[in-house]
């Protein structure tokens, strides 16, 4: 019921908003905020409630497809938090828009509710077609809102946004259709199985199609053309939702739909990591030069999401919680920054940060919030941003220290542009007259303050966020493991190997450089080429390093209960496990009563 409500009630709310008259500003705001508070409550219940799923209902048959498409929603930690972001930011956007829009508030609220419903659907859909449906549906209310409430170039921005994102996901639609013609039905697991049976070249093509859609949505480096103009022309509350919740759909897609479906090889992974890092650096550099405050935030958002994507494809064990915390932190902090730059724009009448300044003296309370938000975006320890960035850094370090170094560089740059931003907006001498009567209202201030408090809370106790990933119920997991027998075997082997490594006495495995030299010379005699020898020796050293690592594990064994399982295949498997929790069996009819805990 919760899931149905979260997806459909926003649309109902949007329709009910029509009942208000356009002229009656007050009743519209009251009604909208009331609805939004209710949705926020629902989303909190969803986050707290753990994994739930609805009963799959057969929706329709797409012509030419082997199996039916289902109306099937489920929630796991990641999706639930994204829903929380979308509901929370929508509420604050509605509060924030009170001071921004006069007469048209009703229409704005209608758009926001429609957008919220579509976003919730995207994050909760368990069926590929349903997911795609909502993924596309998000664009429409967003584009309409930009076109009707945006800045000077709003038409252009809305067109760019809509065309870019829709065209970006068109290849995914084709790929999805193709997959549906060979998959048993449109649920994740059957699609994944269908992909397994395809030749490699086809897999790659399909993968690129899927990746493209999410890359454009996120956006990642070469496909970010729509972002700056859209975020800067959209009204500030909408920009906050776009960057705080909607752009997460891209990263969410990587985690929830790309990683479990496609088998990855090293080239693809490293390509994605490099693309993520490239956009992190590129975004930071562009933000360093940006003059338009909203554009600066847009590029900073791109930088952070680039880091998130790099983290996703690092595929380390810590990846999922790390990226989740980073996304939640970025959603809240970027959101509140957008709201606040919207207030600043209201006060000064300009978006150009060179023309702002001196707000610290004219509006101290606002400046306090602004400075605090900026500092929290810097990933200062104690804020959620730090936990996210550090854990992602850890994941990247696990992949390659060099990548971690690049990410560190982008963190330095982020300090540079955020501080420049703060300095230009609130410090220095005032360069303009503040508009009279524009103040941060009490409710608005409380809303922004609450977001900042939330960031601090998650910073000091990230378990609020990460714990939602552990809430798998045991029977479902067991069922899951039975189904994917192949992956299971791999894991078992790995675990066994690992255990052996821990049990064996350690002294016998210490390889000294002289041993390596001996090995090398004997290999030369055996006639191995230089490359082969290097490879072999590397392997030997790596094995030794693993054993050394297990020494450490023994040291803090009591602290750690989970076994250290390494290797890309089982990482993939773990993601599958986390993401496909609660999916029905592929072959059997998807009505599985056990898992339909919701209805």
């Amino acid at each position: 019921m919760l899931l149905h409500l979260l997806v459909f009630a926003p649309f109902v709310a949007a329709i009910l908003m029509v009942l208000n008259s356009k002229e009656d500003f007050r009743s519209a705001t009251r009604m909208a905020i009331l609805f939004a508070v209710a949705f926020l409550g629902l989303s909190i219940a969803l986050v707290a409630g753990g994994n739930i799923a609805t009963t799959p209902v057969e929706w329709f048959w797409i012509p030419g497809c082997k199996g039916p498409t289902y109306y099937y929603l489920y929630s796991h930690g990641l999706g639930a938090w994204m829903v929380f972001l979308s509901c929370g930011l929508s509420l604050v956007a509605l509060v924030s828009a009170r001071g921004l829009l006069g007469m048209n508030y009703r229409n704005f609220a209608i758009g926001i509710f429609a957008l919220m419903g579509a976003m919730n659907g995207t994050f909760l859909a368990a069926d590929a077609v349903l997911f795609f449906f909502f993924f596309e549906a998000m664009v429409i209310p967003a584009a309409v809102l930009i076109a009707s409430f945006g800045g000077e170039k709003r038409k252009e921005a809305a067109m760019t946004f809509a065309i870019y994102t829709l065209v970006g996901s068109a290849p995914m639609m084709v790929a999805l259709w193709y997959l549906l013609t060979i998959a048993d039905n449109s649920l994740l697991l059957s699609i994944a199985l269908a992909v397994q049976g395809l030749p490699e070249a086809t897999q790659l093509t399909l993968l690129v199609c899927f990746l493209l859609a999410f890359i454009v949505k996120t956006p990642i480096f070469p496909f970010h053309g729509w972002q700056a103009i859209t975020y800067s022309e959209a009204p500030a509350p909408l920009s906050a939702i776009l960057t705080g919740a909607m752009s997460k759909a891209g990263v969410f897609g990587f985690i929830a739909w790309v990683l479990p479906v496609f088998p990855f090889n090293m080239t693809e992974i490293s390509t994605m990591v490099w693309l993520g890092l490239a956009s992190a650096i590129y975004g930071a550099l562009m933000a360093l030069r940006a003059r338009d405050g909203k554009k600066l935030l847009a590029f900073s958002s791109m930088s952070h999401l680039g880091i998130a994507v790099a983290g996703v494809f690092s595929l380390s064990e810590a990846m999922l919680p790390a990226v989740l915390v980073l996304l939640v932190a970025h959603g809240i902090s970027a959101g509140v920054q957008y709201f606040l730059i919207g207030v600043a724009e209201r006060m000064t009448g300009t978006r150009n940060i060179d023309e702002m300044g001196g707000l610290a003296h004219k509006a101290p309370a606002f400046s306090f919030l602004f400075g605090a938000a900026g500092v929290m975006a810097l990933a200062v320890p104690g804020t959620a941003g730090f936990v996210g960035e550090f854990t992602v850094l850890l994941s990247l370090w696990d992949l390659s220290p060099f990548c971690a170094g690049i990410m560190g560089f982008s963190m330095i740059l982020s300090a540079a542009y955020v501080l420049r931003f703060i300095q230009k907006v609130i410090f220095g001498e005032a360069k303009h007259e503040c508009k009279e009567g524009v103040k941060v209202s009490g409710l608005e201030g409380v809303a922004y303050g609450a977001m900042l408090v939330l960031l601090l809370t998650f910073g000091f106790h990230p378990a609020f966020v990460t714990d939602s990933l552990h809430l798998h119920d045991a029977p479902a997991t067991a069922e899951q493991t039975e189904e994917s027998a192949v992956a299971d075997e791999v894991v078992e082997e790995e675990v066994e190997e690992e255990e052996e490594g821990e049990v064996e006495p350690l002294e016998s495995h210490i390889v000294t450089s002289s041993d390596i030299a001996k090995l090398d010379s004997s290999l030369i005699q055996a006639g191995f080429s230089e490359e082969e020898r290097k490879e072999l020796i590397k392997q030997v050293i790596e094995t030794e390093a693993n054993i050394a690592r297990s020494t450490t594990l023994a040291l803090e064994k009591q602290a750690r209960e989970e076994t250290q399982v390494r290797g890309v295949e089982d990482k993939d498997y773990e993601i599958n496990d986390a993401e496909m929790e609660g999916h029905p069996a592929t072959d059997a009819a998807p009505v599985n009563e056990k898992e339909a805990s919701n209805d």
Binding site: F386, T391, L419, Q423
Partner: protein, 677 residues
């Protein structure tokens, strides 16, 4: 032992921060600002309460220290960190002077900041700083230390840019934060190195030490040494950022833009020494990496020398003190580089007193002169402000190492340790077997630096307090002694800078300080690098530590001579010379002095320019190319679209006719393909 929970110590300043920040925000619309009495009382009392806690704990602490795990912080695969506190000999010393000096300086600030519009805000920042600093030194793992580490950096940023109406201050604050950020990334990556070696448990100091002991016992050091050295080097990068060592030191002179109490507390006494604290805290790890220790030694020596020299050219009274701080920090790192960690902490301790006194005295002078900081416009102040002058002169004697004063004991100790402990080894170079007396080289560097220290400090004292007053006549009439609320902390600190040294006066047999640090640092100090490697493999490559036994009195005499010689030079140079009164606004040095002073700024500028050029390329070239690409595609689409509209005549009837033909065509197709026939 006293039953005070450790978390109370950081809690008080945190409470203070929250209360004062609320007052600051609530009173912001008010023209008069918050009531200074209440704000001042809160701001002083809460740090004082944590000082009391610390003192109570310190007197009853068992030798092994107090450990307390509060709760879990981060718990994800690969990373499990707790919020826990560790109160041992090292954190005791640090906490005592952090909270003690913090309280005194808060008291001083009530007088100094009187009448400022951001009075409550200032004290909120100060309390936040004390909270972060306490967390930094009290935490039992690196992650929590990093929280304090960045927290103090943040407060430093906020306080440097406290008077944010002037963009110059904001720029200095930005510079401080960004330069520190570079170091912080080093810290972060260092932690990652440790995690790679020892798992997330290695972030805990106790577990790290255990782990290292296990490595040594098992003879596995060689296996992890590259990674461990990398970790140590990266941590040292972090230290160079926070403690203003080469090459990340340019921010500290600029940081003098903040209010003077801030300079005293953050940029002299406490925050900048946290790098030294970190090295001492990780001493067990650092001693495993002789290369990194050598690096620290060289960097420390070079920084000490360079900064002392640069201090000679400054005209701004606070800048002189800033360079002096950098130079003293160099001393501390030199001591750490020869693995005399207790000596470096001792110098941190004494330095905190005398440098705080100097800064507070300078603050009183600036206060008396209504904001004038240029020494060329001072002079003869001893008649007008005798107490301040006495305070500064005593502190001056301490910093130059005049026998009996605090600085004498600590500086003397460091120089002695450099001479005795330096185990620099050149392996594989042309110096390999020639016994170059590296210990002597570094000792002489240190001694020479001490002479320069005496010279520039003497210059400062002479230019400020002696001779004729060189400023405006108008301001001269307003010169007054500081109020009591400012004088009391100054006097207390002066007593500290005279007598703090007697905690460890080795020449007269007092080793109280060293004994209290021994449980923490003893193992590392006594560590012999030769032990860590497999004896039969690597022994011949490492010479055992040189422990030359020499007469300590000789060192004391040499140090005294250096101080007296420096003072003599200063007296010769500036005592009688007529210093021209200047009218120009700039206090920056010129000519060759400028080149020397801003040497590292130029180096930084190179990197900044490089980044900006790349950013320019991104903005102007790459972005435009991408836009052109998009534009091309959209242009192609619209051209094709225009082509299609040729068929779109604006006559509905014609369209319908065409569609009729279309229907006919369809029917024909159906007929031909046999749909019906």
């Amino acid at each position: 032992m006293t039953n005070i929970p450790l978390w109370l110590i950081p809690l008080f300043p945190l409470l203070g921060t929250i209360i004062l920040a609320s007052i600051a925000v609530a009173s912001s619309p008010n023209k008069k600002g918050a009531p200074e009495g209440i704000v001042g009382a809160i701001a002083v009392l809460l740090p004082a309460m944590s000082f009391v806690c610390v003192a109570a704990l310190a007197s009853t602490m068992p030798d092994s220290g107090i450990r307390e795990t509060l709760c879990n912080w981060i718990d994800i695969p690969l990373l499990k960190v707790d919020i826990g506190f560790l109160f041992d000999g090292l954190s005791r010393i640090m906490l005592l002077f952090v909270t003690g000096i913090g309280t005194l300086i808060a008291l001083y600030s009530i007088g100094y900041m009187h009448g400022d519009r951001g009075f409550a805000r200032f004290f909120a920042y100060i309390n936040l700083f004390l909270f972060s600093m306490i967390v930094l030194v009290l935490s039992d793992n690196l992650m929590l230390t990093f929280l304090g580490w960045e927290g103090v950096g943040l407060c430093s940023y906020l306080l440097i840019g406290f008077w944010n109406k002037d963009l110059k201050n904001c720029k200095a604050a930005n510079k401080a934060f960004i330069v520190n950020r570079v170091g912080d990334i080093g810290f972060l990556l260092g932690m990652l190195c440790l995690i790679t070696i020892g798992g997330a448990g290695a972030l805990n100091y106790d577990l790290l030490n255990q782990f290292i002991q296990m490595l040594i016992a098992g003879g596995h050091v060689e296996l992890v040494l590259p990674m461990l050295s990398l970790a140590a080097a990266l941590f040292f990068v972090g230290c160079t950022g926070k403690s203003a060592q080469i090459p990340l030191l340019t921010w500290l002179p600029d940081a003098m833009a903040g209010p003077t109490p801030v300079s005293a507390l953050i940029h002299a006494a406490t925050m900048v020494t946290s790098g030294v604290y970190l090295v001492a805290r990780l001493s067990n790890m650092f001693v495993l990496c002789p290369d990194v220790l050598n690096l620290i030694l060289v960097v420390g020596a070079f920084t000490a020398f360079w900064a002392a020299f640069a201090g000679l050219f400054q005209n701004d009274i606070k800048k002189v003190l800033a360079y002096s701080t950098i130079s003293q920090l160099g001393y501390m790192f030199m001591a750490a580089g020869v693995s005399a960690f207790d000596a470096s902490i001792f110098h941190v301790f004494t330095h905190a007193f005398f440098k705080a006194s100097l800064f507070l005295g300078a603050g009183a002078v600036i206060h008396a002169l209504a904001g004038e900081q240029d020494m060329r416009r001072m002079g003869g102040m001893i008649k007008k402000t005798p107490v301040t002058a006495c305070v500064m002169i005593f502190a001056f004697l301490a910093i130059v190492g005049f026998p009996g004063f605090a600085g004498f004991w600590s500086k003397d100790l460091i120089l002695e340790r450099i001479f005795t402990n330096c185990n620099w080894v050149f392996t594989g170079t042309w110096l390999a077997d020639g016994a170059v007396p590296m210990n002597k080289i570094f000792y002489v560097t240190g001694l020479f630096t001490a002479v320069i220290t005496a010279v520039y400090m003497g210059r400062l004292i002479i230019m400020t307090f002696f001779g004729e007053y060189r400023g405006d006549k108008e301001t001269e009439s307003h010169i007054h002694e500081a109020p009591a609320v400012m004088l009391i902390p100054m006097v207390v600190l002066t007593f500290g800078s005279i007598f703090a040294g007697y905690l460890w006066a080795e020449s007269i047999g007092i080793t109280f300080f060293a004994d209290s640090l021994a449980p923490v640092l003893g193992a590392a100090q006594a560590f012999d690098p030769a032990r860590m490697f497999n004896p039969d493999m690597m022994l011949e490559e490492f010479i055992p530590r040189v422990t030359t036994h020499v007469n300590p009195m000789l060192f004391a005499a040499l140090g005294t001579i250096a101080a007296l010689f420096g003072m003599f030079v200063a007296w010769k140079g500036w005592g009688k010379a007529h210093i021209p009164s200047v009218k120009g606004a700039s206090t920056a040095p010129e000519g060759y002095a400028k080149g020397w002073t801003f040497m590292w700024d130029y180096v930084h500028m190179f990197f900044i320019k490089a980044v900006l050029i790349v950013a320019w390329i991104c903005d102007v070239v790459v972005d435009k190319v991408l836009q052109a690409f998009q534009w091309t595609i959209s242009a192609i689409v619209s051209i094709v679209g225009d082509g299609a509209t040729v068929f779109q005549v604006r006559k509905v009837r014609l369209q319908l006719t065409l569609s009729l033909f279309g229907v006919a065509l369809l029917v024909l197709v159906v007929l031909l393909t046999g749909g019906l026939v």
